[in-house]
């Protein structure tokens, strides 16, 4: 499953400045592991103890995963995943 991931500015240091990366994963935790493999350091910025950090919002095609199936939210080919820190009080 190849998905597109939008990376927020503060995490682009880890992706060599790339704002958008491609990943293969079947669900959110696999996605985190896949990102970690390609961009070491990503996993601990996004998650803690197998859970997405409280102030990281992840949207799959604009849907907040907290209201889908959290870390187990499944991904399919061509999905757009956005990682958005909750610092601005929400998602645009």
């Amino acid at each position: 499953m190849s998905v597109k991931v939008m990376v927020p500015t503060p995490l682009q240091k880890l992706t060599n400045g790339k704002a958008e990366v491609e990943c293969k994963a079947r669900n959110i935790m696999e996605l985190v592991d896949a990102l970690e493999k390609d961009y070491p350091g990503m996993k601990e910025r996004l998650s803690d103890g197998g859970k997405i950090r409280r102030f990281i919002n992840i949207y799959v095609n604009e849907e907040d995963i907290r209201f889908v199936n959290k870390e187990e939210t499944t991904l399919k080919d061509g999905d757009n995943v956005s990682i958005v820190p909750a610092i601005a009080g929400g998602h645009r």
Partner: protein, 410 residues
Amino acid sequence: MTYVNGLRCVECGREYKIDPIYVCEFCFGPLEVTYDYDAVKRDMTRRKIESRPHHMWRYRELLPVDGDPVTGFDTGFTPLMKAKNLAKAWGVKEVYLKDDSVNHPTLSFKDRVVAVALTKAREFGFDTAACASTGNLANSVAAQAARAGMNRFIFTPADLELSKTINSLIYRPTLVPVDGNYDEVNRLCSEIANKYRWAFVNINIRPFYGEGSKSVGFEIAEQLGWKTPDSIVVPNASGSLMTKIWKSFKELEKIGLVPPVTTRVFAAQATGCNPITAAIKEGSDVIRPVKPRTIAKSLAIGNPADGYYAAKITRDTGGYGADSSDREIVDAIKLLAEAEGVFAETAGGVTVSAAQKLVESGKISRDGTLVICITGNGLKTTEAVVEHLRKPDPIKPNIEAFEEFFKKIG
């Protein structure tokens, strides 16, 4: 002399030095001010506090400023009123109103947070104060920044109550009404804060600003004779006030000024904007954002920044939450006015209504001391009640006309 140690991420515990920052750069959690509590314990005694003037700075060891305050010299130490009539009507042993509807200078609890924020902004060297606001904060930033000689930019949803808008404009800030709800205004302000070197009191100054709310809790404890109440009902918008009142109680316990705290904390929201009370009732630790639709505009934050922590405090203390419809809010505003002679804004209606429901459902014990936080003044939200009051027709200036009138009201 300062007792501040630094800033710490509430989530991951990473520490930062004092700067106008508000987010952990590692995990994006909120930052909180930490203090040297041993030094505070040594220096902040009951006797010392009681010898100081009756304003919020009497607790200055636990407020995050280094030097002398620049504003807020008449702010705080508002009445803790015994509400005998409500207590009788509800069958509760003791009910008190913490009445910030008469806070100085702009008649809401926001005067407390702004006093700290502007003092800190000055210490950081800012010359411009700004805020995203549902109205009360706008009023207070406009007024206090005027007095402190700072430039002031106020961003609010465009559909605010007329009185709240007038209460900002009179201090001649640059008012920027935004076509959008508070959450959208807040997001815009976060972008502006990244670009302009302004002190946005509730964005880049937020860790310091929030600490000002602790003075509500310090005062309640002192006014109760250095103890905390059995129950407290607090209105929730972002959730910050409630978390800070709780922090203030725990700090007083830590420095030995009050006995161990057993207070139960209860959250009040409007049903038309209840992301926090909904999470409390569902027993969920996830705050689901909502699109606000309520007359309680000062509480209309659909995506509350401190919602998670607010819900957690109610859980941890054995408290709960309640929310009220627009009609119930108006009825509670009228009840408070008729029973206790206090005219609160819509948020006060929310709190009183919630308190009543929580007492009636047995969530709040009738045997204890209950404190209800009134955070703003009814004169600012007259639109909410005007349709629910009957203004009598005038009479001719003679005794017959009066007697006719008197007969009619019989």
